[in-house]
């Protein structure tokens, strides 16, 4: 018999609407699973009373005949979004005791659409990381192989979906943090065009890159959530695009016949592992079988995306994280001398290694005498990278390639070498710098039976086209239906 956690969001929403299951039952079922799988480290906080209260409210709305798209569907939020009902830590000791007086826009939009919040999901500290080993609280384990990383920084989010602890979740993507953990955990995730989802209430890492998006098992579910969480938030977010919300589920059944899929030659160079290459070649063949046309394109500045991103993101992080000074909110050191000493000790105690490293890099590249050589140069190359995409989109409708050079690596494998993590971001960074929408869909399996994701990148505001292409692929394949043993 199909259990509640085996249902997709679309299927569960249908059952809730038909009153075959209540929102309280659904919430209770998933809360039970979260508790039973605590060793995965996916959740940082739950609040059963708040969840059940939301579920009861959803049941009342259903009983009143309301038809919101996610009415009663349990979801969970990456702990980078602030929430009133749950702690909001951004995976950092700095915010251990922090309670937000408001909900992030993404959280309130999903609540308006009827979603019931199961709690907060583990992430790399302030969303800085590609392995989810940088959370100040606990390591997250990949359910496909618990000795491996889930990917980061939305690792808790990806694991919650892969292990069926939640039908869908929110994540954020700054340099690939939705797409890479989605790929490593065998689920579907989409980062929309920069500015389509409000950043209000997202604890800021790199403001010109951070973008919220959904993660779920299918493209159809991602379309449902994305429709709810996008939309202008002009009064509260100065980086919000003035583009109306869209119903992304409407275009899912469009044909991909004749769709031109660009494959950047730089994405298939010697750095790509054989197992990932072979899975992706299979996926591209599948698209050809569906009538799409594969065309070779070039993104010549791909390699430069790594230094450019790791200059810009830390520069913005050093500025954003200056607010954590022990005065207004968050941790304050117990022992200190004067005000400067309080700042330094507070920040030394509150931040982890990766955050300190990025603050140091950012402070340096913005400091007097180095700004032009590093930060300004990086912003100019960022323009060139964005232009390269526009050149490529003259020849194709969307771009396909790997999400990461390999499958998920072993916990601790990159040990004390943060550069190894940085280099693994090579295929997700270019799209992030350009602000383009991108997604990862399950495309096969590689070494150790680990999932491999296919990255699809669209032109600005082309989320509908991406989701349609992903949905068609999922109708023809079963990679997204496979699940890790024991879950």
């Amino acid at each position: 018999m199909t259990q509640l956690h085996d249902l997709t969001v679309a299927q569960l929403a249908q059952k809730l609407k038909a009153r075959e299951v209540s929102a309280v039952e659904a919430a209770g079922h998933f809360l039970g699973r979260v508790k039973a799988q605590a060793d995965l480290g996916a959740f940082l906080a739950t609040n059963e009373d708040a969840t059940l209260a939301q579920a009861r409210a959803a049941d009342a709305r259903i009983a009143a005949g309301e038809a919101a798209p996610l009415l009663g569907v349990p979801i969970a939020h990456k702990d980078i979004f602030v929430t009133q009902d749950f702690p909001s830590t951004a995976g950092s000791k700095m915010l251990e005791a922090y309670r937000s007086p408001f909900d992030a826009t993404v959280v309130s939009k999903l609540a308006e659409a009827g979603a019931v919040s199961l709690g907060k999901l583990n992430c790399d500290e302030f969303a800085m990381g590609s392995s989810n080993e940088n959370s100040a609280y606990q390591v997250v384990k990949n359910p496909w192989d618990k000795s491996r990383i889930p990917g980061g920084s939305s690792g808790g989010s990806a694991v919650a979906v892969a292990a069926r602890l939640a039908p869908a979740v929110t994540g954020t993507d700054t340099g690939g943090s939705i797409r890479q953990p989605a790929s490593f955990c065998g689920i579907t995730g989409i980062k929309p065009t920069y500015g389509r989802a409000s950043r209000y209430g997202m604890i800021a890492f790199a403001s010109s890159l951070d973008q919220a998006g959904p993660m779920a098992r299918t493209a159809e579910d991602c379309a449902l959530l994305l429709s709810a969480l996008c939309g202008p938030d002009l009064d509260r977010d100065s980086t919000s695009l003035d583009v109306p919300a869209e119903d992304f589920t409407r275009g899912l059944d469009g044909s991909v016949a004749g769709l031109r899929i660009g494959v950047p030659k730089e994405f298939f160079g010697p750095g790509l592992s054989d197992d990932v290459r072979s899975a992706l070649e299979g996926a591209l063949k599948q698209y050809e079988a569906l009538g799409a046309r594969i065309v070779e394109v070039s993104l010549p500045r791909t390699e430069l995306a790594i230094p450019v991103y790791y200059i810009i993101a830390p520069a913005e992080a050093s500025s954003n994280l200056s607010r954590f000074d022990g005065v207004k909110f968050g941790h304050r050191a117990r022992q200190y001398g004067d005000l400067l000493d309080m700042y330094k000790k507070t920040r030394a105690e509150g931040f982890g290694d990766e955050v300190k490293r990025r603050i140091m890099i950012g402070t340096y590249v913005l400091s007097h005498g180095y700004y032009d050589a590093y930060y300004l140069q990086a912003q100019k190359i960022r323009r060139m990278i964005a232009d390269d995409f526009q050149q490529a989109f003259k020849q194709c409708d969307l771009i396909a390639g790997p999400v990461a050079p390999s499958v998920a690596w072993k916990l601790g494998e990159h040990g004390n070498d943060p550069l190894a993590d940085y280099l693994a971001d090579i295929f997700t960074l270019p799209g992030s710098l350009a602000g383009l929408p991108g997604m990862s869909i399950p495309a096969g399996f590689g070494v150790g039976g680990m999932p491999v994701g296919l990255q699809l990148i669209g032109n600005y505001l082309q989320e509908g086209r991406l989701l349609n292409a992903a949905h068609k692929f999922q109708q023809a394949t079963d990679h997204h239906l496979r699940q890790p043993e024991g879950f």
């Binding site: 603050i359 100019k380 550069l419």
Partner: protein, 99 residues
């Protein structure tokens, strides 16, 4: 280019971070490793290229949106200060800064 331990100490001071000697040493080697990668970027000819500080500029004109300069009654001081480490009568407390 290569940073030395004095540079690390200067940057840490600017960043308001206290680093232990071990952390400083580790940071020095990791940051120098990072800047080896960055050198590739510095060699690119960007003459005449406009920087792209914000991707919104690729989609629509970027204009700083300012709200009306009026007090917002929705701001709840007590709620906003509930996570402050030290407050007194609605004010944030910090160590003495004036002798």
């Amino acid at each position: 280019m290569s940073l030395n331990s004095q540079d690390i100490s200067r940057i840490a001071n600017l960043a308001r971070l206290e680093l232990t000697p071990q952390e400083s040493e580790r940071m020095l080697s990791q940051i120098n490793g990072f800047f080896d990668i960055v050198e590739k970027m510095r060699a690119v000819d960007t003459t005449g290229v406009e920087p792209l500080p914000h991707p919104v500029a690729t989609v629509q004109e970027v204009a700083l949106r300012l709200r009306e300069d009026v007090a917002n009654p929705a701001i709840d001081r007590e709620a906003n200060q509930q996570s402050a480490p030290a407050i007194e009568r609605g004010l944030f407390l910090v160590p003495k800064v004036i002798e």
